[in-house]
């Protein structure tokens, strides 16, 4: 086994200057020509390990073997030279450049001093064909969907003649059909002889794709086995660290309340493609969770924009809490009782450079509870933040630390704490658990169920179909800006049943 290993980590440790230990004595090997998964919770050390392999960081101690020989990889360029390619979770594509320019950035096809566009296009076409990844070489990356951008990323890595492809949480941004498509391609690549390191904390995907898994926890290897030798419980025990797998929240039977938000024949033809919607009819009742499924660009973002006041409807009616909200602003929606967990917590959900306190009370800062005459009562703000921190189990260095000091899951918990604290009547949860670990996700799921139990209407938009099926009371599927299917109960519903609707192959509504 070791003799056949492409990569071997030998007692790799990594400590940062500030004393943080990210990795401790990590040893395992990756066999040639397989899909090898690396799993573990957020902060387990997966990303750090991959950064070391890709030359972005250097280990504090230990060594790395490539083909059985000691390799020192000092930079990404050196990694590429050794035949290692990486697709980052956050894409490293230049939006204003074309697909071809991105793929060959740094290794342009020249004729004289100029880039040979024709040759470049030909090479992209050849690559596309060889790896069965269709792209338009002359399209600007800024115009592509997320899934298409990921294809470009993979092609970019493959164009460097690599033997090992690292994919860091590649499915976090994909819808189920897209995920399935990606997996098919990855298997194809494996069959073509490529070794793939697949980093994911989604155990279902790990099982579906990989043949071997290495599990990290708190910077140490806690499991390294063929997947065939591990059952699901064993696997999740390894990842969660002794704790049993999280129970699905119990679906309490309860009566659904009065209509809360009602859209009638709502259209909006302006904006980016994913934000355009037409003829939407949807009513959300108090106390229910309405799940919205769809692939990227299906119109879910347009629906969220309309229901959070970021956009006005062009036609149709929107009523919320008895008020006409057709062109209501975010402020109108908020004051009428909206809470909103945005999909992109960095961009929309928080101010990373500001303190936990500032992030926790933002939006509620004009409430009398935080006022002291004309001024803000800082003491009360800190107190409220402390309450949120303890109630939501946010692991933090303290309320005055900047939010950027928190891990993704903890930041998301604080953001949720803020949004939930506003005592909303209507909650939009847009990808509420994307990229956060299982425990944190389970915690938020439970919170949302409880909120629904107290009469809050929830619109859940998620690309994680497990999450969708776990939380929703009913589901609508969007495609091309329209609602193409409605499932008024989720009993017996499976991801497979949703797929055709999400891809626009079927339509019932």
């Amino acid at each position: 086994m070791t003799s056949n290993a492409l990569v071997a980590f030998e007692a790799i440790s990594k400590a940062y200057g500030n004393g943080t230990r990210a990795l401790t004595e990590v040893s395992f090997s990756v066999a040639r020509g397989v899909i090898h998964a690396i799993s573990g919770e957020n902060g387990a050390g997966k990303s750090t390990l991959m950064k070391i392999l890709f030359g972005l960081e250097q280990p504090s101690s230990g060594r790395l073997l490539l083909d059985g020989g000691v390799a020192e990889i000092r930079s990404p360029a050196a990694a590429v030279e050794q035949g290692i390619g990486m697709v980052h979770q956050h894409f490293t594509l230049v939006p204003s450049l074309t697909v071809a320019e991105n793929i060959f950035l740094g290794q342009e096809q020249r004729s004289g001093i100029f880039v040979d566009r024709e040759k470049t296009s030909r090479r992209v076409a050849a690559l596309s064909k060889r790896f069965n990844l269709a792209v338009d070489p002359d399209a600007r990356v800024s115009t592509l969907s997320v899934a298409a951008q990921q294809k470009v990323e993979i092609l970019k890595a493959l164009s460097r003649d690599i033997r090992l492809l690292i994919l860091d949480e590649p499915t976090a941004v994909l819808s189920p059909p897209e995920t399935e498509e990606l997996f098919t391609r990855l298997r194809h690549l494996r069959d073509a002889g490529l070794t793939i390191l697949f980093i994911s904390h989604k155990l279902r995907e790990v099982r579906a794709l990989a043949s071997h898994v290495t599990v990290l926890r708190a910077g140490r290897v806690v499991g390294d086995a063929q997947l065939a030798d591990l059952d699901n419980d064993a696997l999740s025990r390894l990842v969660m660290g002794g704790a049993t797998s999280v129970a699905r929240p119990v679906r309490a039977s309860r009566s659904v309340g009065a209509p809360l938000v009602a859209l009638k024949n709502v259209s909006q033809s302006r904006g980016r493609p994913g934000e355009r919607v037409s003829n939407l009819d949807l009513t959300i009742y108090a106390g229910e969770v309405v799940g919205v499924a769809g692939v990227d660009g299906g119109g879910q973002q347009g629906l969220v924009a309309l229901l959070s006041g970021r956009k006005a409807a062009e036609s149709g009616t929107i009523v919320f809490g008895g008020r006409d909200m057709k062109s209501g602003s975010t402020r109108d929606w908020r004051s009428a009782g909206l809470a909103h967990l945005p999909a992109d917590r960095h961009k929309d959900g928080s101010a990373m450079s500001m303190s936990l306190v500032d992030n926790a009370v933002a939006g509620a800062h004009r409430k009398p509870a935080y006022r002291m005459g004309a001024l803000l009562d800082r003491r009360k703000m800190v107190e409220a933040t402390r309450d949120m921190i303890s109630e939501y189990g946010v692991r933090s260095p303290g309320p005055e630390a900047p939010l950027s000091a928190l891990s993704g899951g903890n930041a998301q918990k604080l953001i949720a704490a803020r949004e939930f604290a506003s005592a909303p009547s209507f909650l939009i949860a847009d990808e509420p658990t994307r990229g956060i670990d299982i425990a944190a996700a389970a915690f938020l799921h439970e919170r949302m169920r409880n909120m629904a139990g107290t009469g809050v209407g929830i619109l859940l938009v998620t690309s994680d179909l497990d999450e969708l099926l776990t939380l929703s009371d009913r589901i609508v599927v969007m495609f091309g800006g329209r609602i193409v299917a409605r499932f008024d109960t989720i009993d017996g519903l499976t991801p497979d049943r949703l797929g055709p609707f999400m891809l626009g192959l079927e339509e019932t509504a």
Binding site: P76, E101, E108, F114
Partner: protein, 303 residues
């Protein structure tokens, strides 16, 4: 306005636009690499000074031009070093370069000529003007576009060349990647700092040429603070240009034309102070119109 005064007006506008175009192209190159060159004004001033002094001591206008390019590039490199190595603030460092260039050129001028005002006692050289054959013989067109200074042609030829450089050459594409998404460039093995360093140096070189045009073409001497804020106008031109070389050149010409209008309006009986606001109001209005158009297009394409 008769035809010949129109031709004359065009000729003046091209001349006035020349230093703006050169400097704005310089600003464009550094901005596309993600580093705003606020120090362009100081680099122009230093270029104007170096061109005069070196051409006076060597007797060669070409060496003067080379010196202008070098000193501009050196200041650009200094700015890059301050930002990358010393981690100084980009904007403040740029302002510091402007202050240092103003003080340094005056001081050196004084040491060399004994006057802080002007270098007219130095036998400095100028670069030639060029008559375009055939085209120059046409009646009105010739008047407008022929007989200009060699750096005027350089400026307007430089714009398409810079455009080609940015869109068609590997280095240009990498430079844009560095400015737009440095982590992507780094991941592709592009050395971000090195690109920004050379982009600022190139930016300074353009500034140096723009300065040389003032002191070795427009007039034949160096004067204290002779750039008179043209670097800042060039910054505006670059912003108006929307990131493309040709757009930047067009914007510089628009601003140069505004300046030309204010020059020809002089003596029209309006208070000269108010006439002098024209070159500054035009870019503001141009930006406003540009922004409104952008918004309208966005709306239209969305509809």
């Amino acid at each position: 306005m008769d035809a010949s005064s129109v031709a004359e007006f065009v000729a003046v506008a091209l001349r006035v636009s020349t230093p703006l175009t050169l400097a704005a192209l310089g600003v464009l190159i550094s901005t596309r690499a993600g580093v705003l060159n606020i120090g362009i004004e100081g680099m122009m001033l230093a270029g104007a000074f170096a061109g005069v002094v070196v051409s006076a001591f060597t007797g060669s206008a070409l060496l003067g031009l080379a010196a202008a390019i070098l000193i501009g590039a050196a200041l650009g490199a200094l700015l890059a070093t301050a930002v990358h190595v010393a981690k100084a603030d980009l904007i403040l460092s740029g302002i510091a370069i402007n202050i240092a260039a103003a003080a340094g050129t005056t001081l050196l001028l004084f040491l060399i000529t004994g006057s802080k005002g002007v270098s007219s006692s130095l036998p400095s050289k100028t670069l030639p003007t060029i008559d375009i054959p055939l085209l120059g013989d046409l009646p009105l067109v010739g008047m407008a576009v022929s007989g200009h200074h060699i750096l005027t042609y350089t400026a307007f030829l430089a714009a398409p060349l810079v455009a080609l450089f940015l869109t068609r050459t590997p280095v240009g594409i990498r430079l844009r990647a560095v400015g737009e998404k440095p982590e992507a460039a780094a991941a592709a093995g592009v050395n971000v700092r090195r690109y920004q360093f050379w982009a600022l140096a190139a930016s300074g070189a353009f500034g140096g040429v723009a300065g040389a045009f003032l002191s070795m073409g427009y007039v034949s001497w160096f004067g204290q603070n002779m750039t008179a804020g043209r670097g800042f106008i060039a910054l505006a031109a670059e912003v108006m240009g929307g990131g493309s070389a040709l757009g930047t050149m067009l914007s510089a010409v628009v601003l140069g034309t505004a300046e030309t209008i204010s020059i020809t309006m002089q003596g029209g009986g309006l208070p000269s102070e108010l006439v002098q606001t024209v070159p500054y109001i035009v870019p503001i209005l141009a930006l406003l119109v540009h922004a409104m158009r952008r918004r309208r297009i966005a709306r239209k394409s969305a509809a």
